[in-house]
């Protein structure tokens, strides 16, 4: 059956990715969107769009009934689920099929059987694929450390490492609680914990006629708390014998469930041993690296299979090397706090392709956002997948690091600098990757991610901003900025760089702005760019600004600086002792009231953000003098949650 109009039951970059292939194939596109996403690029790009009222995923992208209704009302004849949300929901797949709509994915039964990791492992064991198992009721003393997982979990959630027997009961209990609330099923199981193993997965695509493509493997060992951060294809330093075993096991997995569609079989690789972890019955986030090295359009393949078409026999020997990093709106230096707000600029000048195959080595950008997009608190803050395809791993690594450096992303903080630290880490460069590498080295990576020229970038911002301020004045626009005939002190500007206040001093000398720091010379100063010289080396900085935020793009990447106002209206000043929301979220519990005496460390309230529960505690002994939030309050980052009056504590 030919697909003519396809609805993507998803959002962000994956919706755009599927639409891109649809446009190439001549298929009309339908987006569904929440209210928060009404102006998102994926909605604008779709031929048709159907609103799903509300913002929360539970009201929108997880409402299978509304999505099927949307498909009907929009005349869509097929639904692609993307990844996440309903993509591995067998019930939804069945609903779609029952409604006479083509489901771009495996059969509901397959999704169900692979949905339970316990069942999936049993199936694989039966098919002769090695698995990791510990009987949860009969754990040997030498089994620690071990890993507790939720049977229906995913994306790293519901996983716990247990290092000693005395923790086991408690951790099992906690894992069950979490699994119940997150996945609606409290089944958990236990596996040996192999911290230095690699995560290698095999991409498969099978049609209804018995053809199964084993498209190749990806290494996704660079993970933060079991969430993938860097993915690459092919897996580096993987012996052919191991690769053959992985491919063989993947074929067996497909055969065991008579799999149809695109899927990923995930393995742990420890030395020569391979262990089946789980099978994902959907397209993976990291599918583009496979597309790059095999010159394949996996979405097109999915559509062919969904239409009942036959996959041609072909060879998937990898050509070159591809690496993907997930660019997130988050602040690695402050607990990876998710960032929200307007992405004032989003530009990767090197991108040669977007959502589609590269015809020569270069940069591919699959982004959820464009300049001006907003990142809301409701969804995953991934901005984009930045993918490179190069002739070798070494070349690809270098290209990707450079592309991140040249990326002009402003308005929200990102993990770009940390990603660059990873890409230049000697263990990563050597291909000696394993799933604990990131957790082992992340502090070092975060530290080295601080741009070594942050001081220069801030200086450039100050000089350019001073020039811009003078140029935009009502009078004296071309009188030199900050000019003094009698100079008593330097001019200063103070910026917030992350949470740090940085003050730059400068002066007008001979009608030109000059940094007070005599190690630096301003060679050129314009409102939109500054060239600074340190010793005999000049560095160029592009500077832009929106309201009181200055965006600097320099040799070490992008920096956002918020100008600290000189004056604060006393009425607007934040009272000392105020506790501010570290990130946007929803207040889920309040355990104090105005007038309560609290001791330092006492929990005051709980803020849920990005599915994480953040306990807000009293920083000092004192009395709660203000508590402007209650359970259910939606707060933005920086909002006052409570004020503790320290002086009252003695009373």
């Amino acid at each position: 059956m030919t697909i003519r109009r396809l609805l993507v039951a998803n959002r962000g970059e994956i919706a755009r990715r599927v639409f891109a292939t649809c446009r190439q194939l001549g298929i009309e596109t339908v987006a569904v969107h929440s209210d928060a996403d009404a102006d998102a690029p994926f909605v604008r790009e779709a031929d048709y769009a159907v609103r799903l009222p509300g913002d929360a995923p539970s009201e929108t992208y997880l409402r299978g009934d509304l999505i099927v209704a949307a498909a009907k009302s929009s005349g869509a004849d097929a639904i692609h689920p993307g990844y996440g949300f309903l993509s591995e929901n067998a019930e939804f797949a069945a609903q779609v099929t029952d409604a006479g709509i083509t489901w771009v994915g495996p059969r509901p039964e397959t999704i169900a059987s692979m949905g339970s990791k316990i069942e999936a492992k049993a199936l694989m064991r039966a098919a002769g694929v090695p698995t990791l198992d510990i009987d949860v009721d009969n754990v040997a003393d030498d089994a620690f450390p071990l890993l507790v997982k939720a049977a229906f979990g995913g994306g790293g959630r519901g996983m716990r490492v247990v290092r000693a027997r005395d923790q086991l009961t408690g951790e099992l209990e906690a894992a069950r609680d979490e699994a119940r609330s997150a996945f609606g099923d409290d089944t958990v199981f236990v596996e040996p914990y192999l911290p230095t193993a690699r995560h290698v997965e095999v991409q498969v695509l099978a049609d209804q006629h018995g053809t199964c493509w084993v498209v190749g493997e990806r290494d996704c060992s660079i993970q933060r708390r079991h969430q993938k951060v860097v993915e690459e294809a092919p897996a580096p330093n993987l012996p052919d014998s191991v690769r053959d075993r992985l491919f063989d096991a993947a074929r067996k997995a497909v055969g065991a469930v008579d799999y149809v569609g695109a899927g990923t079989v995930e393995f742990l690789v420890q030395g020569e041993s391979v262990y089946f972890l789980e099978m994902n019955t959907r397209l993976q986030v990291e599918h583009p690296v496979t597309e790059c090295v095999t010159d394949t359009d996996l979405v097109a393949g999915q559509l062919t299979v969904a239409e009942g078409g036959a996959l041609p026999e072909r060879d998937f020997a990898p050509n070159g090397h591809a690496i993907e990093v997930r660019l997130y709106a988050e602040d690695p230096a402050h607990g990876w706090a998710p960032q929200t707000g307007t992405v004032e600029s989003f530009d990767f000048p090197a991108a040669a392709a977007r959502f589609s195959r590269l015809d020569r080595p270069g940069l591919r950008l699959d982004s959820a956002v464009e300049s001006g997009s907003t990142v809301s608190i409701h969804y995953d803050p991934m901005l984009a997948k930045v993918i490179v395809w190069g002739p070798t791993r070494e070349a690809a690594t270098r290209m990707l690091s450079d592309a991140l450096r040249r990326g002009r992303v402003h308005g929200v903080l990102t993990n770009a600098a940390v990603l660059r630290s990873i890409l230049t880490d000697e263990e990563f460069v050597a291909g000696r990757v394993h799933t604990s590498l990131l957790d082992e080295r992340i502090d070092q990576w975060i530290e080295s991610a601080v741009a070594p020229d942050a001081g220069q970038a801030v200086t450039a911002a100050a000089l350019a901003d001073a020039t811009a301020a003078q140029r935009s004045r009502r009078v004296q626009q071309r009188i030199p900025a900050a000019w003094r005939n009698v100079r008593s002190k330097d001019q200063t500007r103070t910026y917030l760089l992350g949470e740090d206040e940085v003050t730059v001093a400068y002066r007008s000398i001979g009608g030109r702005l000059a940094p007070a720091d005599e190690a630096l010379t301003a060679e050129r100063v314009d409102a939109d760019g500054v060239r600074l010289r340190s010793g005999d080396v000049q560095s160029a900085y592009r500077v832009g600004r929106i309201d009181d935020t200055t965006h600097v793009d320099g040799p070490h990447g992008a920096v956002d600086l918020a100008l600290v106002p000189r004056f604060v209206d006393p009425q607007e000043a934040v009272a000392s002792g105020s506790l501010l929301a570290p990130m946007p979220g929803v207040v889920t519990a309040v355990s104090a009231a105005v007038g309560d005496s609290v001791t330092a460390g006492a929990p005051l309230l709980v803020l849920e953000a990005m599915k994480m529960q953040h306990s807000i505690t009293a920083p000092t002994d004192g009395v709660v003098s203000e508590l402007p939030v209650s359970v259910g309050s939606q707060v933005t980052a920086g909002a006052v949650l409570a004020v503790i009056d320290e002086n009252d504590s003695a009373e």
Partner: protein
């Protein structure tokens, strides 16, 4: 459009020597200005800071729009007198909320910010600038009042300060007082006469008489706060319109007051697409001969201060000792009169009189670049009517109503100073380069005249002329006059608005022209009788 071509050779020994000499003078200017910047010295500055207070210039810096320019005026007031350099007060033109304002800030670290005769002159001059150019005035008040030892010189004329404030208000020229500290007795009328008054909580002290005097006068026991505290004035007397929580807050409120004035300039706000000078301002340092008797071509100066170095000369072939012509400076059209060979002859005087009338016909400000030894003397010139012709020029200058800017770039001697719109002719602004000299005549000439007169007197009386005493006298007088003619002394007497680095000329004039254009420019409808 005529772009001035420079003929100076920046590698010539003369240029390099000139530059060296000028740089020394510029460095010395910094030294002299540092005296004003030091206020009352380290001890008093430290004490002031320990009270959590900002210095006068720090208050100004915060008051100004970020990164706007500030033209400080009369920095060297009282130079060469017994009073502290700077006159215990800082004045200048700055931009606050996009509005050019005249700012006056007492320097409380210097003799408590008390008013002495030089303070009076300096703030009087500031008030005149505000009045002539229609600039709102912001007073940053913290002054101990009158400098009592000099009361006889300041008590009577000092009243003008308060009168100036209310006349400003009557002329719908806003006045704002931010009171940071003492403003007592007569000083209380500064906030009292201002349109808007802001007082700093715990800092402002505004009363006619303090507790001791009140006790003496009426027997009443009182304290500073109840007599003149900021809270009292904000809540009870109503003298304070705004109560500021601290100094920074007072400045914030002061800025918001200016923003709400909705001040509109009535003059020209030029388009900003004009060209910078083609010639390098840095070279101004090397083109003035270190010997003041050696003339230099003012076109080399003009070419380094006007837009695009573009100067259309008027009457270039006539009266060539005075250069006249049209140019733009920071987008403002101006007419320029500049001495070329020092001496003003009849032709130059008549040319100037005509040119000044032309500028008045087209409402165009005039810039006078002084380097003159005065009008030509001698039989031939007297007989040909040099007085009449000089009088024509002085008539034109005196009755011209377009704004005049005067810059002494060399010497300004004798009636030349008058004809070129010296201080007595009320130019809107007047500045001196560091090398400038102004006097009734050159020191050597003056000493020589005295010598000749006394020799003649001796001869007449038939007494022998003491040559040694004469030589000694000549040397002494020459030294004294030389010292009295320097730009520092002239500036110290408030006979100009400041001594400047030649390289700053364009910027200084640009700010002045912009400030001038707060009011509309209107040329004279008529002049006095031109004696022909």
């Amino acid at each position: 459009m005529t772009v001035i071509r420079s003929t100076i050779d920046p590698n010539s020994p003369a240029y390099l020597a000139n530059r060296e000499a000028m740089l020394e003078r510029v460095a010395d200017l910094d030294v002299q200005q540092a005296k004003a910047l030091a206020g009352g010295g380290e001890k008093y500055v430290d004490r002031h800071r320990k009270r959590g207070k900002l210095l006068a210039r720090e208050r100004i810096e915060l008051l100004l729009d970020r990164d706007s320019a500030f033209l400080e005026l009369s920095t060297l007031a009282a130079w060469g007198s017994d009073f502290p350099v700077g006159g215990n007060v800082v004045t200048g033109i700055g931009v606050v909320e996009g509005t050019e304002c005249l700012i006056v800030a007492n320097d409380p670290t210097s003799r408590g910010g008390a008013s002495n005769p030089s303070t009076l002159k300096k703030s009087g001059r500031a008030a005149q600038i505000a009045a002539e150019n229609n600039l709102p005035t912001i007073n940053l008040v913290e002054s101990g009042g009158a400098d009592l030892p000099t009361q006889k010189e300041i008590f009577i004329p000092g009243g003008a300060g308060f009168r100036n404030l209310t006349r400003a208000s009557a002329a719908r020229r806003p006045t704002v007082s931010l009171v940071f500290g003492n403003s007592t007795a007569g000083g209380a009328y500064i906030p009292g006469m201002s349109d808007y008054t802001v007082m700093v909580k715990g800092g402002a002290k505004v009363f006619l008489a303090g507790p001791p005097l009140v006790k003496m006068a009426t027997g009443e026991d009182s304290d500073d706060e109840s007599l003149g505290g900021a809270e009292m004035h904000a809540r009870q007397s109503g003298l304070a319109d705004y109560l500021a929580s601290d100094e920074l807050d007072a400045i914030r409120i002061g800025r918001s007051i200016i923003r709400r004035l909705n001040w509109q300039k009535q003059g020209l706000v030029p388009a900003t697409d004009y060209a910078d000078p083609v010639l390098d301002a840095e070279e101004l340092l090397g083109l003035v001969p270190s010997d003041p008797k050696e003339p230099f071509d003012p076109r080399e100066v003009i070419g380094r201060i006007v837009d695009g170095s573009d100067f259309d000369e008027f009457k270039p072939l006539y009266g060539s000792s005075l250069v006249t012509g049209w140019a733009n400076l920071h987008g403002h059209p101006i007419g320029i009169l500049a001495n070329a060979q020092g001496v003003l002859f009849s032709e130059e005087a008549q040319k100037a009189a005509q040119f000044i009338q032309l500028a008045n016909q087209i409402d165009t400000p005039l810039l006078f670049l002084h380097n003159t030894t005065g009008y030509m003397v001698g039989k031939e010139y007297e007989q040909r009517g040099i007085i009449k012709h000089g009088a024509q020029m002085i008539n034109a200058v005196s009755n011209s109503t377009v704004p005049h800017l005067s810059v002494v770039i060399g010497s300004s001697y004798g009636a030349g100073n008058y004809g070129m719109s010296g201080r007595a002719y009320d130019p809107r602004f007047m500045f001196s380069w560091v090398n400038a000299k102004s006097a009734v005549m050159g020191a050597a000439q003056l000493a020589g005249v005295i010598s000749i007169v006394s020799r003649a007197s001796a001869e007449k009386k038939g007494v022998p002329f003491d040559e040694d005493a004469d030589a000694q006298m000549r040397e002494l007088v020459e030294k004294q006059i030389e010292a009295e003619s320097t730009s520092y002394v002239i500036s110290g007497m408030l006979y100009d608005d400041g001594v400047i680095d030649p390289r700053d000329t364009r910027t200084v004039l640009g700010i002045c022209l912009s400030a001038i254009n707060t009011t509309a420019i209107r040329g004279a409808e008529g002049f006095g009788v031109f004696r022909l």
